[in-house]
């Protein structure tokens, strides 16, 4: 008899501990405010045992502890929810303790009234169907759990609990630690395996390409043009011969060819991204995250796309500088120079539209500021804003429009202009006009050797791009949740930092619209209003003829550089 009493006492004590846990965390129970259930107690104390501690604990292990102390009372010991069976395990007097009043003064006000739906099951197939991904689940847990006081969990705890629930349902990608960004890519209902490591494959490719450069470097083309034969397509795109002095790397810096190469990489990687990217506000950042974390080599593809775009802006700016500092835009190449300027503007627009497609907090304010800038234009500003946004403010229509411009509208314009630009270069006699009186022979290189050099530059370019993309990931941020709260970075993308810095100093229309337009216009006018280089001076750096344009351009570049640095390092200067 004594023994039985003893056991009964221990069981009672455990009950009290359990009840206290429920009260202290406010995790209260139950739907049916009804007559006490006739189910007999099925109490089994092992069901209340604390999960074993794992060292070092994985995220889900921490979640298991939190679940045990805060969630289990209502959601059950294996996530079955507040079933009759689970309630029965409480013992008669505790089953409906909110009626018997055992929570006493700690009883949270109204805490049992709203549970008309019960405490739902959380673990297993077909559960948690309202959540598409782990990000949604953790925000719900963070905002609404535990039952009382709701919202008392830290963001970290919410993620731990989410990881625990997914692990128990066998949908947590192995080895993945959930965070605010990658959680949006992890589905709640379907197990997605994280991709294999992309580093070995990339290094294999890098190694092969490096070996190939050796051959490309030393095998000078011995091909000679067969008289009257028509060249193959790729060769036909190049002039039959160009002057050797002007085909040197230190004359051209290879910037034109590199720009074409980077554009090709952008087209290809962009195409690959389109297979997974979803241009809708609630899915965009998630799909970017999926490309980054779950698609095999997706992270590499995205990084290549990002870095090619950043390099393209730099390489094109250098190309422009090279053309001015060698006076190469002198007639008959003036118009082609304008085509090039147009391309630079288009690429900046493409960079900006692509940047916005991430639709996460990192781009949020750049989008707001960049488009509000349009509103400051007199007369047409408001119409232009609505045209760009597809409505009165940022929303689904905005994303679709930016997507259309980025994927097709602007890209088509670039393809047409690049083709035209290259055609004009070819028609105007190649990379540079030959100095008058240049004879045949050693002073020229053939189109075959030119193509070899281009392939070499491309291979080196791919290797550098691969290394940078493996080393430095393209930025991501958490999805935009609301357009009124200021949570993201307030910095413009780096290529517009100089404009952002200008905007700190005065009227947005003059400094943010007119001034940048004037910079481009001024550059475009140089060949038409300033003296040009003489024919005899062409093909060398710093010809005397267009000195004034050279000085002005360098000054302009320096000013933009200084403004960019100011913008980068003094956020509120």
């Amino acid at each position: 008899m004594m023994l039985r009493k003893c056991i009964a006492d221990v069981i009672l004590m455990i009950f009290f501990a359990f009840a206290a846990t429920i009260v202290s965390t406010g995790a209260a129970a139950q739907t049916i405010i009804s007559t006490p259930s006739p189910i007999a107690p099925t109490f089994d104390p092992t069901r209340l045992a604390q999960p074993p501690t794992v060292m070092p604990p994985a995220q889900a292990d921490n979640g298991a502890q939190a679940y045990w102390s805060m969630c289990m009372g209502c959601h059950g010991d294996h996530g079955q929810g507040l079933t009759d069976e689970w309630r029965a395990s409480y013992g008669n007097e505790y089953r409906d303790c909110w009626q018997s009043g055992c929570h006493a003064s700690d009883h949270p006000e109204n805490s049992f009234e709203i549970l008309s739906t019960g405490a739902p099951a959380l673990i297993g197939a077909g559960k948690l169907t309202r959540f598409a991904n782990a990000y949604e689940l953790q925000s719900y847990v963070h905002g609404n759990m535990p039952f009382s006081p709701a919202g008392s969990l830290t963001a970290e705890q919410s993620l731990e609990l989410t990881a625990f629930l997914l692990r128990e349902s066998d949908t947590l990608p192995g080895g993945l630690t959930l965070d605010m960004i990658n959680s949006s890519a992890v589905t709640v209902h379907q197990k997605v395996n994280p991709p294999e490591n992309e580093v070995p494959g990339s290094f294999l490719l890098i190694g092969i390409l490096v070996l190939a450069t050796v051959g490309l470097t030393f095998r000078v083309s011995t091909k000679v043009a067969i008289p009257n034969a028509r060249p193959a397509f790729v060769y036909h795109l190049h002039p039959p011969r160009i002057p050797a002095a002007q085909s040197r790397f230190w004359y051209t810096l290879g910037t034109g060819g590199l720009s074409v190469f980077l554009s090709l990489v952008l087209l290809l990687t962009g195409l690959l991204e389109m297979y997974y990217y979803v241009p809708s506000p609630d899915r965009a950042a998630v799909s970017v995250s999926i490309i980054k974390t779950l698609v095999p080599y997706g992270n590499l593809v995205r990084n290549l796309h990002f870095w090619s775009a950043q390099f393209l802006v730099i390489v094109m700016s250098l190309h422009l500088l090279r053309v001015v500092l060698t006076g190469a835009y002198a007639p008959p190449r003036r118009f082609n120079y304008l085509l090039g300027l147009g391309l630079l503007v288009l690429i900046l627009l493409l960079d900006f539209t692509g940047y916005v497609l991430r639709w996460d907090e990192g781009v949020h304010w750049a989008l707001v500021v960049g488009t509000n800038l349009l509103k400051t234009i007199p007369l047409i500003g408001d119409g232009l804003y609505r045209f760009v946004m597809g409505g009165g403010g940022p929303g689904p229509a905005t994303l679709i429009r930016f997507y259309a411009w980025h994927i097709f509208g602007l890209t088509l314009a670039v393809i047409i202009l690049v083709t035209w630009h290259a055609f004009r270069v070819r028609r105007d006699g190649g990379i540079a006009s030959a100095p008058p009186g240049l004879s045949q022979g050693q002073q020229w290189i053939t189109r075959f050797d030119l193509v070899r050099r281009e392939v070499l530059a491309m291979v080196i370019g791919i290797v550098i791009l691969l290394i940078v993309s493996l080393a430095i990931p393209a930025p991501t941020d958490s999805p935009i949740s609301s357009f009124s709260s200021m949570t993201g970075s307030s910095q413009a993308p780096w290529f517009f930092l100089w404009v952002q810095q200008l905007l700190k100093w005065g009227d947005p229309f003059w400094l943010g619209i007119i001034l940048p337009v004037m910079v481009v216009t001024l550059l475009g006018l140089f060949p038409y209003i300033l003296p040009n280089a003489d024919k005899n001076e062409l093909g060398h750096w710093f010809p005397r003829g267009n000195r004034l344009a050279q000085v002005l351009t360098v000054l302009l570049y320096l000013v933009i550089l200084v403004l960019t640095f100011l913008g980068a390092f003094s956020p509120n200067g």
């Binding site: 707001v368 009165g392 940022p394 943010g512």
Partner: protein, 142 residues
Amino acid sequence: MMKSELSRRDFMKLSTRTLLGLGAVLGLGGLIRYFSYEPGQGPPTVFDLGDAGSFPIGSRTIRGEVPAVIINQDGVFEAYSLTCTHLGCTIEKDKESIGFTCPCHGSAFDETGKVINGPAQDPLKALHVEITGENRLIVHTD
């Protein structure tokens, strides 16, 4: 009969070009019309901020969803939009004072919404506040 100064050939050329130009203008007009449809709804302009009693006398409450600061000045409600009048970023409350600063371009505003520091030119927009019969606080942002 007077010979026309315009030869037949020139006339044909001119009318062809005029027609083509007209067609282009018409096409452009159609294109502009095409883009004039706005699928986007635009942001909401009316916000129900709940029981007015939850904004006690003398309080200054920031509501991020509008975004606005709600001021209860001796029972009279005022609200200022927290959207920067410069280029539309949401301004943030200063740590030391009760003024606001914009994180994008550094405009500063005092507690009554006046500009202390550029580049913003205009004071914060005062929002229309309405108290309904059920004592709910409604803010209009337009």
